[in-house]
Amino acid sequence: MSTSPKEEELVNDLKQRFVGRVTETLIQRPRRIFITITSDALTEFVSYLAQKGYRHVSTITGLDLGQSLGVIYHLIEGNIVLSLKVAIPKGDPKLSTIVNIIPGAELYEREIHDMFGVVFQGHPDLSPLILPEKWPAGLYPLRKEWKVEAIKTELEKTQE
């Protein structure tokens, strides 16, 4: 039932090349691939994909997965949208930057640093992009433990 041969070829190639580090793959429909990898493989994986033409990072999504934080890199080449997923522990959210491989990722990494507190190691400038200067440290608004009401209370406290 090969309805998407190009997608299957890519997924098989990646699985073979990164044995043990690709933990989950899904061809959701033609032109949409989801691949989960271990976070230590990120730089190597993105470099390999970039060589294959995946140099357009459309955006990077941050996710709260409870005990861990998810980061999804949406890469596009031709008509294939490849969503590359990694998870990192919430207590120590560190990930290497991909700005040296794809310069266009700079602002997206800064946005996730603001919203989820993920530290992208090697990023040239992780100063706040969106949140105000006086925003309380440790308040990452898109993390699930911060309900809208809790954010309001916290901000009122810092207004004094």
Partner: protein, 391 residues
């Protein structure tokens, strides 16, 4: 460091800016040597708000990401939820979506050509294009009921049908717009003001546009052939006749030409869509709860590739909804365009990516008078509105 090097903050509030943003420019004399970007002045917490509302409520929240490309965001959202539900809008609805999306592109591009004219001191052009833009707005009002924030889409189709009495009106509007687009093309090619202020200004080389992941007319004016309507067709675009417009000028002038040529393609799509509008229902029934899953949806907004990601958890509210509007994708490129240029070109170079700050900033309240920021509850907002606009 030489004594002639100094920094100039532009914004968040600045006479040359239409919307709040902050760029700290490092200048050597008149020449820009560095630019640092700071956003967030109109961040409204949209993504957090989306997680706290139902899929149906979110239809109307998501189009408020941007007043200009409301249709693009709502369409992207509807496609996203429909894919997760495993349903598809009927053919007639897909055509109506295409028609409204292209009318929106015409209004947005005409608006932009006017703003570009204004930024280079050519206000007559501004007056002309904004007058013609009314045609597109009136047609959208006739079709959807609203000039802006059309609320065209429902999950599973569209809310209102195009009736037979609207067809001649749309055709009449298109004939007029066709003549005007031709006029603007001649004007853009022949007018000295445009040549002097736009040619060779705000250069973004093809390799830089690719490396910095530029999108939309900004990328296409740097000769990067990237148009979602072509590479990942949605709605009825797989049936529409159109050419992807590119230009190898890599400067502000090229960005003007690309948008004017795209206007012509919009008219072509609209003519075809109106002539071939299929019969049938405009909506299928959609369940309120969405099964667990995740999906990536992309559309070509007037400003470029608009990408949404949705993670559903089986309930009637999304677990996570991520929006990346095209303007954010073009900020990195804009920095590149500014560096090496002159201070006097900042307004037009900024305008040339057609920035939409409300699109870019989505997540707190800021009191401009006191500089305080805080988050409001719905009740507080309601009280505020009633106090100021009520009775």
């Amino acid at each position: 460091m030489s004594e002639s090097i100094f920094t100039v903050p532009v914004g968040p509030q600045h006479p040359a800016l239409k919307e709040p943003e902050n760029i700290t420019l490092t200048l050597d004399g008149e020449q820009i040597i560095d630019a640092k970007i700071r956003l967030g002045y109109v961040h409204r917490g949209g993504e957090k708000a989306l997680e706290n509302r139902t899929y149906v409520q979110n239809l109307y929240l998501v189009e408020r990401v941007c007043g200009i490309c409301a249709m693009a965001h709502q369409l992207c959202y509807a496609n996203n939820v429909e894919a997760l539900l495993g349903i598809e809008a009927p053919p007639r609805a897909r055509y109506i979506r295409t028609i409204v999306a292209e009318l929106e592109r015409i209004h947005s591009h005409l608006l932009w050509v006017g703003v570009a004219g204004h930024e280079i001191g050519f206000d007559t052009l501004f007056m002309y294009t904004w007058q013609d833009r009314e045609i597109a707005l009136d047609l959208m009002e006739r079709i959807t009921g609203n000039r802006v924030l059309h609320a065209t889409n429902a999950i599973g189709g569209v809310r209102r049908d195009i009736t037979s009495d609207m067809i001649p009106l749309i055709k009449k509007g298109l004939t007029y717009l066709g003549e005007r687009i031709e006029y603007y093309r001649k004007l853009a090619l022949g007018e000295k003001t445009i040549a002097k202020r736009a040619v060779g200004v705000g250069i973004l080389k093809t390799q830089d546009a690719l490396a910095l992941c530029a999108v939309g007319p900004t990328a296409r004016a740097s000769n990067v052939r990237r148009d979602v309507r072509e590479y990942d067709p949605y709605s009825a675009y797989d049936e529409m006749p159109f050419d992807v417009v590119t230009n190898d000028g890599c400067d502000v002038a090229a960005r003007i030409f690309v948008r004017i040529d795209e206007l012509e393609q919009c008219a072509r799509i609209l003519e075809y869509a109106v002539d071939h509008l299929p019969e049938g229902p405009i909506k299928v029934r959609a369940p309120r709860s969405v099964p667990q899953g995740e999906n990536v949806s992309i559309v070509e907004a007037p400003r470029g590739e608009d990408i949404h990601y949705c993670k559903s958890n089986g309930s009637d509210r999304p677990e996570r909804y991520k929006i990346r509007a095209p303007t954010l994708a073009n900020w990195a490129s804009m920095r590149k365009m500014l560096i090496g240029g002159s201070m006097a070109d900042v307004p037009i170079v900024l305008a040339a990516i057609d920035p939409c700050m409300s699109c870019t900033d989505r997540v707190a309240f800021l009191d401009a008078k006191s500089g305080k920021s805080w988050a409001w509850s719905y009740e507080q907002l309601k009280k505020y509105v009633q106090k100021h606009y009520g009775e």
